[in-house]
């Protein structure tokens, strides 16, 4: 199920992704990369189910600087991403719907991807927080979302 969604998502976004390949580093985003992204997220909203997330993203602090995939899809391409895409291709839109719990909640894996993307873009700023002197295991982990869960989407008052 998940894979399927991601796949479709992937397709929805493949146009943009072409331009994305190999450009994982944050300098790219901070640079002229912006112009590309403004166009994009429509692809996600091909699914009405993504509408609220789109609308809340539009109002978020990041709408001008980061789009859906910057945060939600792995930055390292192309390999496992293409895999996801092919995977999704085999499934028709119809199947993508209606047997997932709502409100939609991110999977643990996608949440990790998300946080890695925060760190990727905000590397220098957060070096000290993330310095590897902290416990390398889970116990040493720091979650951006613990404090910043509303950067991508103006969540309800909170």
């Amino acid at each position: 199920m998940k894979k399927r969604i991601w796949g479709t998502a992937a397709i929805g976004c493949s146009v943009l992704l072409g331009s994305f390949v190999g450009a994982g580093s944050y300098t790219f985003h901070y640079g002229e990369g912006f112009s590309y992204f403004r166009k994009d997220p429509a692809s996600c909203v091909n699914c009405h189910i993504m509408q609220p997330h789109y609308d809340t993203w539009l109002k978020s602090s990041h709408h001008a600087v980061a789009n859906c995939i910057d945060c939600h899809l792995p930055h390292e391409f192309p390999h496992d991403f293409i895999a996801k895409a092919e995977n999704g291709w085999n499934h028709s839109w119809a199947f993508t719907f209606d047997d997932f719990p709502e409100p939609i909640r991110m999977t643990a894996r996608n949440r990790r991807t998300l946080e890695d993307n925060c760190k990727a873009c905000h590397g220098p700023l957060t070096d000290q927080m993330l310095a590897d002197h902290h416990r390398p295991d889970e116990r040493g982990a720091v979650s951006c979302l613990h404090c910043h869960s509303n950067v991508g989407h103006t969540a309800p008052p909170r």
């Binding site: 990727a120 000290q128 310095a131 590897d132 002197h133 902290h134 116990r139 982990a141 909170r158």
Partner: protein, 450 residues
């Protein structure tokens, strides 16, 4: 994974100066970590909030709330009890409180008012725990004036970097023996055996634990005044009370009713743990040490103080709500708590006075047993909330619950005293207290400071 590769590359800081376990002076650390040091130094600053913050000359709470003298009649806290201020003041303020100047106090006091681990290590010949026990048993003066072999004072600085950071890695850590033992007992009570905070605590938990080293309820056990955190049965007010009852402990006998009393001190960790934020995993440092952007870096604000002095950094990251509105929400919670504190204080004062009248009418201890039992219960709950420093913010409903119970016990105490013969009339009045005891019962107490 790109991210981890990036991370290995990270050089969080260069060490210009070497610091180690013996570096209790924050200054050298400041060379390596100037931003944190600068903000740490700002803890000398003072600015008030409605219920907290700090002043140049710490507010004398005994004058602001005269009923405190009645609640603590016969105890050192009725001599001098002030508004807390920044960490940089902690040692000086202990030196100068009338509780120390006028009453005998043990070396145990310094556990939370100075960068003292090195002193423990010295006294214990390398064994911090052993040193901790010995210093606890010293007089305050002996402890305060400890020197190393070179004759340099060992208790010279307020809590500083080394108390929360590993000098090697800068990793967060706890150092206070009182807490290390306390948290183990607490975890055991929760069914977790052999808890080792160094091994088992997560980084996020440590963002609370470093504070819980000191911002907790405590007592001095035995005649050698061993500093102890009473968490054997848990940290809810009732659980701590049950523990004290079981070991039949009391801090002092009340100056007016002679009931065996308990003194609650700054149970911030305990009350926070019962609140909504704790349930949501929000740590002390999240609010009291918010990150700030300094140049191209995010730095934890080491100017630890009232978050209401900078709601933007302390709250707004999580609560996307206008500043005034957040401040107003906090004030609503605090104002309600204050209202209940006043109510509980009136009830407590009425009870104490009713017991006094009953005694004057010749009531026997036996007739007053019930009233005295209620006095202990009522005072513990009021003191627990009053001496906690967030005016209920850390746990709004729990604070109100404790005050409700306090009121219940005080008012039952009034009735019990009347039944025991107290004249119904008589307006409560602050009565001259009997001689004030030190924290340690005077008989076995070290001689007062000269």
């Amino acid at each position: 994974n790109i991210f981890t590769r990036k991370q290995e590359a990270r050089v969080p800081f260069q060490r210009l100066v070497e610091v180690d376990e013996s570096t209790t002076d924050p200054a050298p650390w400041g060379v390596n970590w100037p931003h944190q040091y600068d903000s740490y130094l700002r803890t000398v600053d003072h600015e008030r909030t409605r219920y907290g913050g700090s002043d140049a000359i710490p507010k004398q709470k005994l004058d602001a709330d005269p009923w405190l003298r009645t609640m603590w009649a016969g105890y050192a806290f009725s001599l001098d009890y002030r508004e807390a201020r920044g960490h940089a003041h902690m040692l000086w303020d202990q030196d100068h409180t009338e509780r120390v100047l006028q009453r005998p106090q043990p070396g145990a006091c310094l556990h939370c008012h100075s960068s003292i681990i090195e002193a423990y290590r010295h006294v214990g010949d390398g064994d911090v725990m052993a040193g901790f026990r010995q210093v606890n048993a010293m007089t305050w003066n002996e402890a305060r004036n400890l020197t190393n072999d070179a004759g340099h004072p060992l208790v010279a600085h307020p809590m500083s970097c080394v108390d929360c950071h590993d000098p090697e890695t800068m990793r967060l850590r706890v150092t206070r023996p009182g807490f290390i033992e306390g948290i183990r007992k607490l975890k055991a009570a929760e069914g977790i055996d052999d808890y080792d905070v160094h091994r088992d605590a997560t980084r996020h938990e440590l963002r609370t634990f470093v504070c819980a080293q000191c911002h907790v309820e405590y007592y001095f056990a035995g005649t050698d005044t061993q500093l102890t955190y009473p968490w054997d049965k848990g940290i809810r007010a009732e659980e701590i009370e049950a523990y004290y009852d079981e070991i039949d402990f009391s801090d002092w006998r009340h100056g007016i009713t002679a009931a065996p009393m308990l003194k609650a001190q700054h149970p911030e960790f305990e009350l926070w743990s019962q609140g909504v934020h704790a349930k949501a995993g929000v740590a002390c440092a999240d609010c009291h040490m918010p990150y700030r952007r300094v140049g191209a870096m995010k730095v934890s604000d080491h100017h630890v103080r009232s978050p209401l002095l900078d709601v933007a950094a302390s709250c707004q990251t999580c609560h996307r709500v206008p500043e005034e509105e957040l401040l107003e929400r906090a004030h609503v919670t605090q104002d309600r708590t204050q209202g209940l504190i006043d109510r509980a204080a009136a009830a407590l004062t009425d009870m104490i006075d009713a017991i006094r009248r009953a005694k004057e009418a010749g009531a026997s201890d036996e007739q007053l047993a019930e009233a005295l039992r209620l006095h202990r219960r009522a005072q513990w709950r009021l003191d627990f909330v009053y001496s906690e420093n967030s005016r209920g913010f850390h746990a709004a409903q729990e604070s109100a619950r404790l005050l409700a119970e306090s009121i219940d016990y005080s008012r039952q105490g009034v009735a019990a005293a009347i039944v025991a013969g107290a004249s119904p009339e008589g307006t409560p009045q602050v009565v001259e207290a009997s001689p004030v005891e030190g924290v340690t019962p005077s008989e076995e107490a070290p001689s007062p400071r000269e």
